[in-house]
Amino acid sequence: HMLFPPNYHLYAPAAPPHIQIKQYPNERLAEDLFIPNQLRETIQKKNEESLQVLPMSNLPDAIDVYHSLYPISQSFEEGSDRRSIIYKAVSNVDGKLYALRRIENVNIPNEKSLAPVNSWKDLGCANVVRLYEAFTTGAFGDLSLVMIYDYHPLSSTLMERHFYKMSDREFPELITEDLLWIYIVELTNAISMVHSKNLAVRTFDQSKIIITNKNRIRFSGCGIADILDFETNEDMESLQKADLRLFGSLILNLAKSTIFPQKIQNLSDLEIVNALGLSSGFKDALKWLLNEEGTIRDFQQIICDQTMKVVNGLQMSCDFMESVLGLEVENARLVRLMTKLDFVSDRPEFQLDHSWSETGERYPIKLFRDYVFHQVDEAGKPVLDLTHVISCLNKLDAGVEERLLLVNQEETSCIIISYKELKNCVEETFKFLRGR
């Protein structure tokens, strides 16, 4: 007999309890990384962008081992008129997607200039887009520098987000103090890890900081300056000091957009900071950066409470994602099952195969597919019920003892067969196909 809790019938909602998602007590906290009820949609859009191709293009078929180039964005290198174009590409070696950055007209004297890549490769920082390799190529018609990074679909730059009108927004996105703090914490993380490896970020250009999720930013141009300026031998200490100063300028630039330009015309940086309508904690932190008063480790101390807030927000986000994942755990199984079923059914080479005819041992599979997918109601209208489909497929997957009555289309004969026997039939056919 069926086992169920006594008051099951008192359930109000449709979904069983194990697949319900808890809402955050404070919605705003959950919005650190993404907007919760848009998470699936965002993920879906990212997947779609990863699949885009350019069917007819003048781009080279392949650059080194990277092919299927699809242009994503274009900008100019700081202080020059060289273009920096980013493509999505597939690696022939490991089949994964990468972002290929091409900087045109670059003269690399020898391979030593490319050595910095090896220092950046193993950084392992969540706020720095990972660099894999770099090389020169003539495939674009000039001498270009190509750098291979991780690919982050659907990302936009800080510049685009806060300073441009884009197709989906009428205005650049407003900057709030909360947002600024999140940026500060994330960039501090990046700078800390970079400095700890005896490297420097060197470029805080807003077109080289990308936003990969709602509030998640990453440096996307690491390694470029190291290669292009390989000859000039600035010492690491002054470069790292400069990092902090540039960091401060970047934050100041972003913060400036919270105030009317007229109000801060002709003011010095420090005066601008004071004029901002933001908390004193923020202003102190910003002034500290602009005054170049210490190292990034010192700065970590100054912002430690904001960092802790980010820790809380990130944990909430992870929790939420896990709860969404709880709804999706069976999808892979269903894909595998349906694929197996489709591999086995209606193969052209089976047309003449006796075992698929009415008397053959594979015929039940044919009837089963009709039972699952080709049901009609009394009026002859197709029944297109996903619940029914999944229910049957689940039973088939498990191979339950429950028996089915399968009728052929002419309604002249029928078979009584259990899910277990059907499962066996499918598996045997699959094995046969593999071994053939």
Binding site: F4, N92, G138, L327, E328, K340, S391
Partner: protein
Amino acid sequence: KTVLFANPLVYPSMEHDTQPTAISIDKDDDPLNGVKLPYYSDTLLSAWPIHAKFTLGAMPEKIDPEILHSSKRVQQFLVAPYDHDKFGKRNVSTKFQAIKKLTKNGVKVPKFISERATLETENSKSETLKNQTSMFEYTSRTNNVPNCFSKVEILYSKFGVDDFDFDFYNVTKYAGLETNVSNSYCNPLLQVYRFDPLLFNFAVSSLSQEALESDLLLSELGYLFDMLVKANGKHCCAANFQRLMCLLPEVKKLGLLDDDGRIKDSYGQRRLIQAFNKYLLIRLSTDEKTQRNLQVSSNLDSIMGIYVETIVSSVFCNARERTMDVMHSFDIASLSTNATNHKTIGNSVLTCMETCMNRHVQQQIACSVCGRQHLVEVVTSVAKLPPLLSLNLNLNDEELNELRDTKGWLPSEFYFAKNQGRGFFSPTNDNNIPADHFELVAYVAQITSKEGLNHLVSLIRIDDAPTEMKWHLFNDFLVMPLPESEVMNFSSWWKRPIIAVYRNTAISVPFAFDIFKRNLNDSILYRDHFAEGTRKSRTIEYELLTKEEAPTPGTLVAIDAEFVQLAPAQYEFKSDGKSSLVCPRKLSLARVSVIRGEDGPKYGVPFIDDYISTTVAIDDYLTSYSGIEPGDLDSAVSTKSLVDLRTAYRKLWLLLNMGCVFVGHGLKSDFRTINIQVPQEQVRDTINMFYLKKEKRVLSLKFLVYILLNERVQTGNHDSIEDARSALLLYRKYLDLEARGELQIALNK
């Protein structure tokens, strides 16, 4: 004090949800695990075999261009016929192919010469042979461009271009042309004209006379043809020819410079080679007139000139005008039928030729004779066809597609006769009327790859070839014989004829490879001829040859050359430390010195020490190697005796053809940059004489001189006179050691 359950409680799960959740097919949010998986005690059906492996990352497959070309829209879909035999089974999963330069269509790129093992084993020999046979395949099982027609590419090792195994691609005695040169698209056409005896003799005979006042493309062509013959199957480079092409302003204006082969569409590439064809022939004609100081028709006109007569007449007045023009190549365009205004190529090129060569149009002009506006009839007709007829097939892509399906459109022969002033073409001459008989002897074809890349090749009939198959494919540096049936097969989707050359069978002339030796003017060897603008006061370190010293076969001379860099080498670097040479540096001859090598009072005295006047930008003077200082090659400021390249080259070419034997150190690279082919019998290269076989090491001149001659060579900048002299001494030393059998001992030291 805490109490815990010793083991986690194990109670049964619910078998079903009593109220199964509705899962909508439209709403993505409805979780698919709303319907629970029943209890299972066996491996799930959805489980996949553990060891099953899948491969990712392959380049996307392109749809066969032939299918695309033949597709039409039916209802809302693009439909095309499918040929199982051509394209294979349906839904075949293609094997993963890595993007690597190691194989191309299954042909392994031959190893660099330096990589080859010193001892070739039986295995490696048969491997190479198998690989070569694969390379020379002219049919393809996969409906691809056959291997021998696909574009060949030079790969560079760190040792430069000479390390590439060119010989792999050519086992005939007909030299191919390298692609690492500007405007390499010209190569196929240059080969076509090389193999016509009339044109060959014409170009090479022009070398018997001097042409030192200005650059003549005719001379460069002559030198090139001579080089191709002397190479005897070894690869050549049309370097000097193209150097001149790049300097001529009219070439640039006509758009004939190919800017490092930037991607051109197929039509554009065809127009380019046809434009070059027209230009080359006109220019050869003008050059001949310049050289021989002619006013009227030249030899070239008699070889390739198509005489076209135009008669303008009118019924309205007695105005009648008759002009005769000569063209050197003919444009064949498609016919437009008046009926449908649809362009067609007809069933043969002959129809087109007939129409093109016999034109009859009416025009409204303002008559200069009677002063009135009236209609005139303009009748153009071909008066005479030349011995060598060059046709530019000016057809678009669609028309060329039609050509494939029209068998015999480009016939292997035709007859031409005139009847009442009108020319007629016919594929046969059954009635045996008096007519000119022409045979197809060569054509330039455009090869299009599956990826849509185009390059040019030529197919040429060499009547005196030793092989049974007279037709040969010239695909840059890949040269091989082909059966005539394959050559005359125009049905392949990847091959399009662009320029066709017919020859009158009545005129059969043999190649005269030494024709220039008749009345050869060698006076430049005995006098100075400096470049324009060279300063009067100049330092001279040589003593001109006298007539009595005229070289004879076997005369020993020592030579050394210095070079400057026009463009640096281009590399591709990778962050993992690997680097590969993409394009070697471009060098230009800066100075050449030749000294007397015969015993006698003037032994070791230089008689040529030419600094080459250079007008193009120089990237690096390589002063520490070359001894050339900035400004040395600029006629405006130099203190040296500057000479035009054509003058210096002629001197060397004369020495070569008068039989001199050249002694030097590292002559292979010197001759390559000078762009001259010297047969092995006339070369004594000290770099090979003192080569350490076991260690595979070459020794520098400075080192050898120090060790063997106990002399300290100038440690300052290099000086080609000194180097030539050192080489000469080394050669003497070598002969000496050889004679005494002590060479090996010396080497071991």
